[in-house]
Each structure stands twice: as C-alpha cells, then as structure tokens.
C-alpha cells in the first residue's frame, strides 16, 4: 500500500512538468480570453525559443553535475559584439562600420562563446576550481565587459538577412520555433543515444564510478562548457533577430529563468537525472507563465516576485524527488556503512 503510494508520488514527480503545464494553460485560458488565441500561442513559442536554446546548454552542464551561470552573459556579450561588427558606424547606428557579412558575424559570435566556454572548462577541470564560483565570477566579468564595450548604447541597422533566424516565419511557424524543436530533438538524441550523453549521466550520477569505468570526466566537462558557450552564442543570434537591435541589457537576469526551466523540467541540480523532453516542458511552462501574467496585466514588480516563487518551487520539487527516492537508498547506505565500518 505504502509502496504504491510512493510509486505514484515518484511517477507524478517525474512527470510533474506536464501536469503543471496543463494546469497553467487551463487556468490562464479561464482567466483571459486572449490566452488561447493563435497569436498568443505563437508568442509563447517565440519566447520559448531563445530560452530553450539556453536551457539545452544548461541541461548538459547540469546533467554532468555542473553549472554554467555565465551563459546569460555570453548571450549578452555575443549579441552586442555581433551587432557591433555587422552594423554601420555613427549615429543612429553606433556600429563599428565594418559591416561584416552575416556568416562571418555569426562565426565571430560562436568563437566568443566557445572561448568563454573553454576558459570555464579550463578553470573548473584543470585548475580544479568550484564550477559555481568560476561561472559566477565569469558572469560578473562578462557583464562588466559588455558594459565597457557597448558604453550603454543601443546598436541598430542590423541587416534583415541576419535577423531572419529570430524574425521571419516559414508558413505559420516562426523560424526560431522550428529551430528550437530541431535543437531539442538533436539534444534528446545526444543525451539518450550517444556515448557523450551516457557519459554525462554517469559523471553527474557518480563521478568516481564514471572514472573507474574508463570515462575521462574532466574531458567531458570541458566539452560541456564549450557546448554551453556555443549555445549561448547561438541564442544571441536568435535574440538579435527577435529584438532587431543590440542592447547592453540583453539576457540580463535570464540565468534564473534558465535554471528554473531546467529544474522544473526535471534536470536535477545534483546531476545525473532528467531528460530533454522534460526540459522542453520546463521551458514551455515558464514561457506560459510569462505570457499569462502579461495578459492579466500583472505589474512587473509582481512578476519578479512570482518568478522567484517559481524558482523556489522548482528547487523544492528537486529536493523532494531525492527525498522520495531516498528510502531504498538510505537502507542500502546503512547496510553498506555497516559492513564497512565493522
């Protein structure tokens, strides 16, 4: 009886995201008749796309038991750098005047993302520094660098072709949404059907056991930070297209939303648990909340507070999962410590 109840709880916790998403959609549909319009639903998906790309990078990190808090700042710096090299000089554009071709611009942004990811991975694995602190420091450094670089100006004059990724549609669906779905499909396949993905789960689940199974955890962690940096640069390209201008504050504060989406979607903060389908659910849920609260004209101050509560709830659920899966675990641990301690 008790076992059944626990099983149901564990099942609900594992699939909680879809339950929550359904509740959220139904609630907002009842509260606002503008919620279930096709225009609004597309808006939710567009908001999901940049967030989702970021969540993919973060999920890879978290599966391996690491964080990349610097991801949002990479997005910010890559966006302003991309706008700078592609836009014309002088007022009102404030670009470099280089007017580089879009492909070269994207490449420069990618190189930036990979470079920061490489530094993160280097410091975490080779210098054996704590990943949380390393990426937090990197977040602050790159935010500062972005301010220095942009001098607070907003860069305009970005060519249409470059903006297509975040701006244009193919039929009824925006390109960014199609790209998002493809990206999640690829991420799903990578995590489930490749060596790389399996290694991440093993490293996040028990790094020492992964090591003893012939995996090089540090090499995988360096790769994870490269991917996270690259995804942030890609999201920057998308965000530039969506906004049409390069602004200093792009991505600011987004890291909380990214982590909340990943964790609500079941990607454990402690590593080794979660899947990309759940993570996509987390992205959709947060975007739904954003849209719903906006439609209901909730004041911006309240929205921040509600976001905070959502993050707390996400962490609470993650902690509870560990607790509900604990009974079997702790018993095994007792027997193990018993036999070793005697």
């Amino acid at each position: 009886m008790r076992l059944n109840r626990d099983k149901i709880i564990v099942f609900l916790l594992d699939n909680l995201i879809w339950v929550l998403l359904t509740i959220a959609v139904v609630t907002f549909a009842l509260l606002s008749d503008r919620f279930l319009t096709s225009k609004n639903l597309v808006n939710i998906l567009v908001h999901s796309s940049v967030l989702g790309i970021m969540v993919i990078g973060q999920s890879f990190c978290q599966l391996s038991g690491n964080f990349d808090l610097s991801a949002e700042s990479i997005l910010g710096l890559a966006a302003i750098l991309g706008a700078f090299v592609i836009a014309p000089a002088g007022a009102p554009f404030f670009g470099s005047g280089l007017q580089l071709n879009p492909i070269l611009t994207v490449l420069i942004m990618f190189v930036l993302g990979i470079l920061v990811g490489w530094i993160n991975g280097f410091l975490v694995t080779r210098m054996k520094m704590n990943n949380f602190i390393v990426t937090l420091a990197m977040l602050i450094i790159i935010r500062g660098l972005t301010l220095v670089f942009s001098e607070g100006k907003t860069i305009t004059g970005i060519p249409q072709g470059f903006k297509a990724l975040g701006h244009e549609s193919l039929g009824p669906l925006p390109i960014s949404v199609i790209v998002l779905l493809i990206a999640f499909a690829v991420a799903f396949v990578i995590t489930r059907y490749t060596r790389f993905g399996r290694d991440l789960y093993a490293i996040g689940g028990n790094r020492d056991a992964a090591l003893a199974s012939g995996i090089d955890p540090n090499r995988r962690i360096r790769q994870v930070y490269l991917i996270s940096g690259l995804m942030a640069a890609f999201a920057a390209w998308m965000e530039l297209g969506r906004l049409g201008v390069g602004a200093t504050r792009i991505g600011e504060g987004m890291i909380f939303e990214i982590q909340a989406a990943a964790v609500i979607g079941g990607i454990s903060l402690f590593g080794g648990r979660g899947n990309m389908i759940g993570a996509l659910g987390g992205v959709l849920l947060l975007s739904t909340f954003n849209s719903g609260l906006n439609l209901m004209m909730v004041s911006g101050f309240w929205i921040d507070m509600i976001r905070g509560i959502i993050i707390l709830l996400a962490m609470l659920i993650d902690a509870q999962k560990t607790r509900y899966k604990a009974p079997v675990t702790s018993q095994a641990a007792v027997v193990a410590s018993e036999s070793q301690g005697l």
């Binding site: 396949v189 059907y193 490749t194 060596r195 399996r198 290694d199 789960y201 093993a202 689940g205 028990n206 020492d208 056991a209 992964a210 090591l211 003893a212 199974s213 012939g214 995996i215 090089d216 080794g272 648990r273 899966k325 079997v328 675990t329 018993q331 095994a332 641990a333 007792v334 027997v335 193990a336 018993e338 036999s339 070793q340 301690g341 005697l342």
Partner: protein, 507 residues
C-alpha cells in the same frame, strides 16, 4: 574460560542485545560485561558485530531486544544523550577534533564559557584546560593548535576530553591504526595510567599483538554473537586467531584452472612510499590472492595497474606487450579491469539503470557507423550478462541503487566482464554482501578464471582467499614477503596471518 564476577560491580552490563539490519542479523543475543578499570579487547572479523555492539552501547543504534545497565542502572532504550551522561565515550580511528582550533577550544567546544559582558572568557578556558591536563599528567600547552599535534597526541587529547566530561568507559575504535609504532606505546602508557584511576577501556583492534600488549581480557565476536570473554594471560595469539576465524558456515572450494600462458608479468616495480621491487606473474585462469595490512601497498598496486594512480618504475607486460596505463580507459583497452573496494563510491552509478551501468566502459563498441548507440545490441548484451551472473532485478532498467548489495556487486562484475578483460583486479569483492551472495560471487570469480582470465583478489579475508585462490601473496610495508600455495598442506590461516603481521615462520 568465561569469567565470573559479582554482577553488582559491573560498570557496563549488556544483556541479550539483538540488532537487525535489512537482510542481516548484526547482533544476536549478545551479553557483554565490563568492570571498572578493566582493559578489554574486542576482536572479530569485519562484519562480526563489534562496531554495531559499540554503536548500541553508545545509543547510536537502538537495539531490537535486550537491556543495557550502566553502573547498575538499567536502560531498555539507550540514547546518545543517556550514554554520554552515564560516562560512555568513544574515540575513533579518525580524530573528531577540529584541527584549526586550539586544544582548549576543542575541549570547551560547544560549551564556551562567557564573561559578564557576554564575550568568550579566553583566560578561563586556557587556565582550566591547563589545570585539567596537568591533573591527567599531561604537560602540554592548551593554546597549541590541534593541527600541530601528532596523531597519538590528538588521540590522547580526545581521551582527555572524554575524561573531563567524567567518562567512565572509553571505547577505542581502531585507535592505533593510523599510529606509528613509537606513538602506540605513548598512547598505551596514557591508557594504563587512566585505568588505575578506575576508567574502563574497550579496545577494538585487528592488531592482535596490541591486544596482548594492552588488555587484561578479550571478547571475541563472530557473526553477531559473543563467542566468549577470555583472560589474555590464558591465551596464545594462535588461539585467538583460531577463535576469530572459526569455521565457515558455507564454503566454496575452488579447483585450479591455471594454465601455463602468462597474462601479466611485473618486474622490479617500485613506487616510492607505496611499494618497492615487486615481481609477480599472473597466468591465464589463475586466481591469485593478494593480502596484507591496510597500507601495505596492495591497494596502491591495484589502483596503479588500473591507471588510477601512478604505477611507478619497473617493467610490466601484458601478454608479452609492454603495459602502460595513465588512465582507466587505457587500462581497459589493454585488457585490465578493476573492481573497486568502495562499491558506492567507485563501483556503481546508483541513480542510473543496470543497463547503463553495465555498458559504461564499452559504449564505443556499441555505436553504429552514425555514432548512435545500438540499443538493441546493448539490451541483448546486458540481458545476457545479467542472466549469466544471476543478477536479481525486476528488469535491466531498474536503478542499481534499488538492488541488494550482492546484486549491485554482480552488476559491477557484469560491467567488468563486458570489456572481456585478460586480467581482473578485484579489491575486496565480497565486502558488504551477505553470506549467500558471497558464495555466488566466488562462483563468478571461479567461472571467470575458467574462461581464461587471470584474477587477482585483494582481500584481508584470509579464509576466503584460501577457498578461492590458487596461491596467496602477502605484502608487508610495500614488499612481497611471502607466498603460499593454497593446496599445500603447510598453508594455514595462522601462517598467513603471521606473514601479514610481518613475521614469516619457517616450517
């Protein structure tokens, strides 16, 4: 031989204590009595119930049945608070003191006295600690930081701390394990001085010589039972060894599958601080036991061969080719697999299913040309291996954490055998598994040797080594000091244990 004394005098009187853990009867109707000022040894194999008994006495584990009386006062349910109040204290192998703080701060830890305005009264702390230490005959400055003390000094301070809290019974749990020989005597002298003041000590140790050196009496535990309390003066070390090892309930007897072909040859292998001048040969189908005390170099050798630690200088070859592994991947690729002693720490990824655990080292062989995993091939392989090793689980998708210790260990074996190893290094393969699973694991080891792998079993369980191995190699302080053929009539547990202690007996 059991001693009889008037019951009222006992400081500790344990009657009929039983304790069950899931699947294990850790204590079975144990009686244990202790007189004030007595120095009692407590010996037994790993898993015999020594630590469990002490944990029940100190209230860490509640007992399932039985009664404990301290100084004549009976308690049906012992708690850590009561046991502390009644003067029971425990000093562990690993110091519980806080290294960056001074001796005095450690003594007053959690109970720092304050002066009238609420600040910590440092003068009083140092003055009182100095006074108390000198009353115990210790001339040591209480302002010294614990991190600057030797290991023996730390343990003496821990005992002193317990005595300041009016301890009447002090448990020393493997207290000398981290100590150099010279410091052991220093600790023992201190213990002897305190017993003259009526403090009783319970000394848990695997070092039998020290039991004879320090204790008046010794209690032998086996399979959760108290086999008896003996006067040390009436025993020889050989008697005690016989009592501890006893006769196994169920035994697996291995017959040799050894062939002539050499799998690994080690010549003059030296790693400063771990081992020196090792020369060993492992043959196809051979099972070699490697034993010795903690820190003798046997674990370091295994981890070195598996690429988890530097191997050192010397010549090592596998099937005639020079062997070198700077990481675990290289070790697997050259046919060496290692079963870690700490199953939860290094063996399994508990959250993940059996399937993913088993195939971790061989994912490279399971990908198709597009670099995606061939899950059908994976499922077939894991199903085959888990059936062969008789892993009991609801499905191969069950998280390994939810399996019993024996089945978890079988999953680790399945993982290792998936790599088709030529040489298997097994570090305490039967640790933390029940008696039945032990036999099953020994059968697995036997089967692997039949299939031609060379197997090295690293263990301190001599009797098990005798049952499973073709020969047993003993290491002492980084050197090979003895080798025993298990089928020779001259090979006895006693002789091996003497070699383990560093004394090789001539026949």
């Amino acid at each position: 031989m059991t001693e009889q004394t008037a019951p009222t005098e006992y400081i500790v009187e344990i009657k009929g204590i039983s304790k069950n853990f899931p699947g294990v009867r850790a204590l079975d109707q144990v009686d244990f009595n202790l007189l004030p000022g007595e120095l009692r040894g407590l010996v037994g194999k790993n898993g015999a119930g020594k630590s469990t008994l002490m944990n029940v006495l100190t209230g860490i584990y509640p007992s399932d049945a039985g009664e404990i009386a301290i100084a004549g006062k009976p308690f049906s349910l012992m708690t850590t608070t009561i046991s502390r109040q009644m003067g029971i204290a425990c000093v562990h192998q690993h110091s519980q003191l806080i290294p960056p703080l001074s001796i005095a701060e450690n003594v007053f830890c959690g109970n720092l006295p304050v002066n009238r305005i609420g600040f910590v009264d440092w003068n009083r702390i140092y003055r009182e600690t100095d006074e108390r230490l000198s009353r115990l005959g210790l001339a040591i400055d209480s302002r010294r930081k614990v991190e600057g003390l030797s290991v023996a000094e730390r343990q003496i301070i821990e005992i002193a701390k317990a005595l300041f809290a009016d301890a009447r019974v002090i448990i020393l749990d493997e207290a000398t394990a981290p100590l150099p020989k010279s410091e052991v005597e220093m600790l023992f002298n201190f213990v002897r001085r305190q017993r003259e003041k009526g403090v009783a000590f319970i000394y848990i140790s695997h070092y039998l010589e020290e039991i004879f050196d320090l204790c008046d009496t010794v209690t032998v535990m086996k399979d959760g039972k108290n086999l008896g309390d003996y006067k040390v003066a009436n025993l020889t070390q050989a008697d005690l060894i016989r009592l501890i090892s006893g006769a196994e309930v169920e035994r697996f007897k291995h017959t040799s599958n050894a062939r002539d072909a050499v799998v690994m040859e080690i010549q003059d292998l030296t790693r400063p601080g771990s081992y020196s001048n090792l020369s060993l040969t492992f043959r196809e189908g051979e099972i070699v036991g490697l034993t010795g005390l903690e820190g003798c170099g046997k674990d370091a050798l295994a981890r070195g061969l598996f690429g988890m630690e530097p191997l050192g200088s010397g010549r090592v070859s596998i099937k005639g080719n020079s062997y070198h592994a700077s990481d675990t991947r290289q070790a697997f690729n050259q046919g060496v697999a290692y079963l870690p002693r700490d199953r939860h720490g290094y063996g399994i990824v508990g959250l993940r299913p059996i399937r993913e655990n088993v195939t971790l080292p061989i994912l490279a062989d399971l990908v198709n040309p597009t670099q995606l995993l061939d899950t059908r091939k994976e499922i077939n392989l894991v199903t085959k291996l888990t059936q062969k090793l008789n892993v009991k689980a609801t499905s191969i998708e069950q998280p390994v954490l939810n399996l019993s210790g024996g089945n978890q260990q079988k999953v680790v074996f399945a993982k290792l055998t998936s790599t088709n190893p030529k040489l298997l290094l097994l570090d305490e393969p039967t640790q933390g598994v029940d008696v039945q699973a032990k036999v099953e694991i020994m059968k697995i080891i036997d089967q692997l040797s039949q299939e031609g792998a060379a197997v090295v079993v690293i263990s301190e369980e001599i009797r098990e080594l005798l049952d499973i191995c073709d020969r047993i190699v003993v290491m002492f302080k980084g050197k090979l000091i003895a080798e025993f053929q298990t089928n020779s009539p001259d090979t006895t547990v006693e002789r091996i244990l003497h070699a383990v202690e560093g004394t090789v007996q001539a026949l």
